[in-house]
Structures are given as C-alpha cells and as structure tokens.
C-alpha cells in the first residue's frame, strides 16, 4: 500500500482551528484516527457523506478534530444516536469513535443491540483498558490484576472481550489490532467501511498517562512491549491450549460475513407493510 505523507492527510481532513488536540503525548488515539482517515482517503469516500458520532471520553473527542459532520453525544449513547441518523438518511456513512468504557460499560446495552440489529455503522473502538478522560479508573476491559484508581489493589473482576462479544452478537465484520499494527489496522478499517451492517475495528491503544503510569508502563514504548507480550495472533491462538491463552489477548480478524444491514431490512419491512395493507402489489 502506498502511504501518503501524514501532513497531506492532516491538511485534507483535520479542522485546523481545533488544533492542538487534547491528547497526551504517547496516546494511541491519534494513530487510530490517522488510520481511519487514511482508509477514507484510500477508498476515495466523499467527506460530505460521512457523519462521525461519539459518546464521551478522550476517544470520543475525535469527531471535533475532523472536518466532517459530527455528533458528540452523551456517555455511551453514540450508537443509539447513530440509529436515528442512519435510518433517517441511509445515504450517510457513519463512523462511531468510542472508548472501551463508553462502548462496553455505560453503553453496553446500546452496543449489543446495535449489533443485533446490524445497524450500518463502522465502530472504531479505542481499548486502553481504562477510563482515560476521568483519570484512570478501571474499565470493563481491564485484565485481572491491572490497577486503576478505583481498583488500587488490582482489578478483581473478569474483563469483557469486546471483539468476542461483537462476534457473538452478530456483527458483520470484527477485527482487533494494537495501534502498532498499522497496516493491518488500515486494511481492516477499509474493509469495515465497505461493509453493509455493523463493523467493528478495536484497537489496543496506549494511554501512558492515566493507565500506564499506574501499571508501571509510563511510556508508549513500554506499553508497546507489553502489547507484544500479551497479544497472540489468531492463527497461533487456535493451536494454543486454553491455559496458555489465559491473560492473553487474541488479535486478528474474527468475523467477515454479509448479513443484511438494518437499512436494507427496514426498506423490506416498509414494502411488506404496504403490501399487507393492500397499498402496493
């Protein structure tokens, strides 16, 4: 893949008057954003036909920095807002940028139901194992033993595997990478953006400030080395016994299927209604 220089992407898609961003040095959100913009650019999608939605959190600030229509909503509810936008104007492509707390804790119910409906949306999910914006509380993705300000002695609950959850709920496309897997990341977003129905690309993303600092990984490179230790590619994971996979995170592409999306289902439903009422043949 030919990679355009980053400044070209920046020039073309960012709102200059909103810069600098609120993101801390070493934060992974910028990388995930860059991959998303590169995917849009590579596919030649029309900027005026894309709406970015988000909830609340560091990751949810992204729609403010990009020059697109954007709806920065309430904590956890982005996909519910997206349902209204998409069904009202199916010509719009929707990108939801969300945090792990946003999507899987307060927004958990909206998340699984948007997937169940196969809402036509591409979710870019920033998994930093923590609540970044509020200063490092534990998130429902935090692996056992990881520290957060609300679990100072190490997390004692079981974590959600968000990608796994999305596959089970019925998403059409699900992939997970760390932000250091940039080529796979960009390719996955490209695939996701071309999918009908629900697509999810989850990124393990360093949050050195709120998360790393409390877990003896103060810098992004330290977090990178940790990701290398805890992540296992899907092909390899398939051959590993469950005990060995304990505490590990599988990365790769988990689902790629083509069930009809909500927009298509609703169009068919309208036709059925008119037929049943004798309004149409």
């Amino acid at each position: 893949m030919y990679l355009k220089p980053a400044y070209e992407i920046r020039e073309k898609y960012l709102r200059k008057d909103m810069l600098p961003t609120i993101f801390c040095p070493g934060c992974g959100i910028g990388s995930a954003l860059q991959y998303t913009l590169r995917a849009i650019d590579d596919l030649g999608l029309n900027q005026d036909e894309i709406v970015w939605v988000s909830g609340i959190g560091c990751s949810s600030r992204v729609p403010g920095f990009v020059n697109f229509d954007g709806l920065h909503t309430t904590h956890g509810r982005a996909l519910a807002f997206a349902t209204g936008i998409k069904l009202t104007n199916p010509d719009l492509k929707i990108i939801a940028f969300m945090g792990d707390g946003d999507a899987a804790a307060i927004g958990g119910n909206h998340f699984i139901h948007a997937i169940r409906r196969n809402l036509d949306v591409t979710v870019i999910l920033i998994n930093n194992f923590t609540y970044g914006m509020t200063g490092g509380q534990v998130a429902p993705t935090a692996l056992k033993g990881l520290k957060g300000t609300t679990a100072p002695y190490g997390q004692f609950e079981n974590p959600f595997d968000i990608a796994d959850l999305a596959v089970s709920a019925g998403a059409n496309y699900v992939a997970r990478w760390s932000v250091f897997n940039y080529l796979q990341g960009i390719n996955s977003i490209k695939k996701a953006l071309q999918k009908e129905g629900f697509s999810l690309v989850e990124f393990l993303s360093p949050c050195p400030i709120s998360f790393g600092r409390r877990n003896r990984m103060k810098t992004s490179p330290e977090l990178l080395r940790w990701y290398q230790k805890i992540t296992v590619p899907l092909a390899k994971a398939k051959k590993m016994p469950p005990e060995e996979l304990e505490g590990k995170i599988v990365i790769g592409e988990f689902a790629d299927r083509d069930r009809p999306g909500l927009v298509r289902e609703y169009e068919a439903y309208k036709k059925r209604a008119k037929k049943m009422m004798g309004w149409e043949e």
Binding site: H72, T73, T74, F81, G84, N89, K270, K274, W279
Partner: protein, 382 residues
Amino acid sequence: MRYPFPVGKSDFIQGDEAIARAAILAGCRFYAGYPITPASEIFEAMALYMPLVDGVSIQMEDEIASIAAIIGASWAGAKAMTATSGPGFSLMQENIGYAIMTETPIVIVDVQRGGPSTGQPTLAAQGDIMQAIWGTHGDHSLIVLSPSTVQEAFDFTIRAFNLAEKYRTPVVLLTDAEIAHMRERVHIPNPDEIEIVNRKLPANEEEAKYPFGDIHGDGVPPMPVFGKGYRTYVTGLTHDERGRPKTVDAEVHERLIKRIIDKLECNKADIITYDAYELEDAEIAIVTTGIVSRSAVRAVKILRERGVKAGLLKLNTIWPFDFDMIEELAERVKKIYVPEMNLGQLYHLVKEGANGKAEVELISKIGGEVHTPMEIVERVVG
C-alpha cells in the same frame, strides 16, 4: 399523499391514537420508543402508520436509546418524536438536556401515571410537572404543553412540532393516563388546512458556519442538518457560535445559555396559550391544567349557580410560565385555588406568580382519580 387514517372528518378515538395521527400530519417521520403503560398505544399506532407513510418506527432497547435516536434523526433532517411515561421520562432526562444544549427540535410525549417509581401504571396523575420543567441538570429552558381533552391532545401535538421547529428546542407534551385511554370525538383536519412550521435552514455557506450563533437576531440559529456539505460539529459541551467546545470560558457559557433561555423567554407571547372562563368579574380564581381543568369548568358553573363569582384559568402551556399574568390575576381576585393531581407542583409556580397579592390554596388529590367538580366546589365554599 395518502394517509393511513381518515382525514377531513371526525373520528372517535383515544388520546394516544390522536397524538400518533397528529404527529404524522405534523410531518413526523421518525418515531423511536420503548413500551410503557399508558403510552404504548402511541407507539403501536406509530408502528402501524409509519412504514406506510415512508417513515421510521423502531423499538429501541430503552428510553435512553429512544430519545437518543430521535435526536440523531432530527440532525439528519427528520421531524421526530418519542413517547413514554414517568419512569421512562426519568431515563430520558440526560438527553433532554443534550437536546436543549444542542438546540435540537424534538417532541417528547410524557403520558403521566402515578409515581414515584413504577407507582400506578394504569392510573392518571400530574406528578411530572416539575420533572418536565426541571428534570434535566443545569440552567435551561424548554417548552411544556398540557392538553385536557383528546381533541387538544391532537391539536397540541401539531403545535408541539411547530414550536420545536420554530425555536429549535425540545417540546414536551405532558398528558396523562386519563386522556391517553379516554375515547372522544376528534376532528382530524385535511392536511392542507393544517399550519406547518419547518425549521430554518442556513441560506448559504456563511450562515451554516454559525449553527449556534444569533445571526438573524431572533435567538434561533438556522440548523445545518447533516449530509449537506456544511460539516457541522454538534456537541453537548459548552460551545461557541461555530460549535467549537469552549468549556472553561465563562463568557461563552453565559452567552450560550442565556440565548437558549431567552429565545423562549422573549417569545412567551407566542408560546404561551391559556383559556379563561368567567374570569372578567371573578373574585375566586381556579388555576389548573390538563385533565383537572374539565372538573374545574363544571365546578365554576356550580359555584356561579350558588352565587360565588368564580372563574377558571386553564393553562395550556406550563413552561415557559407567565408569572406576570398570574400576578395580575392575583391583584384582581380574593383567592386562587390550584387543584392538581399531585401534592403541589403547579401550586408552587402559581404561588410564586401571585407574589403575595392573593392567597393561593392547593387542592391536591393523588391515587389515580381526577377531582370531582364537587370536591373543588366544597373546598371553595368551605
């Protein structure tokens, strides 16, 4: 355009049904909801009608999602509505604040039932007056309408959409279980007889740059809906005229919030409506709203027959509130009675309005039944 119900004639229907039909005639093409008594029939009617008029009706996972979806729909250009009752209305409060802050036209129907909590699902109450006005956090304002008949439920629903579009604001239609389930004759006008207001759109690129400014001097900015190439950023954070977050700037916050409140306060004359019966020479005033005003009309008749100069002020808009009008009334009468189906919510507003110029007495009733006319009469004559 073909309608899935008769138009240009009268029909004998329930309040909930009237609201659904009015919404469709007002141009509503997006409905999202979650079932709850006594509001479910609104949803069921919308589910039946919407696909036929090329609109959307969708059952969301809860009320939070329902109001979120209609706000999204509104930004995508649709007139949108949701309906619920007390418990669901409570869940919606955060996003009502979001709709106020982002100046999103939406209509929320709250069919009141007995509360708090799950309370009395099938019985009427007026316990959500304060919640409708003050339920969401922060300094804010919105419009709250209150019908007392099935015909008014129909008419006020159309008005709710028009006001929402005109002022770019959420409008709450506050009805109750009694009106919801009661059947009455309703005149359903021909669509071309109905006055429809549509939101102001930006006239050009320049106007679209200020989706939260006051470029026309009326406090209501044109709304650049999504997908038109304006690249609008909408946030619930405090934002400037262009929509850019400015969360620690006191001046920006004050300017934004004051404009949002003032656009309604300065247009009270347009927003507030009421009906007055026998008030010209009244010495006793009954001030009430919604279903209770029907008993109050009868009570006034009985009181007049008994030689008591009583009159009624029936409030159709309960927010914004006309405190001045109540004060003027208080100056003219000896006493004001406020019958309502709660332990005193409208009462607080009326008392504040009366400003000590007349005694204000609450006639409260809870448990699910509307006051009988005699209950009001007996309190007045002692």
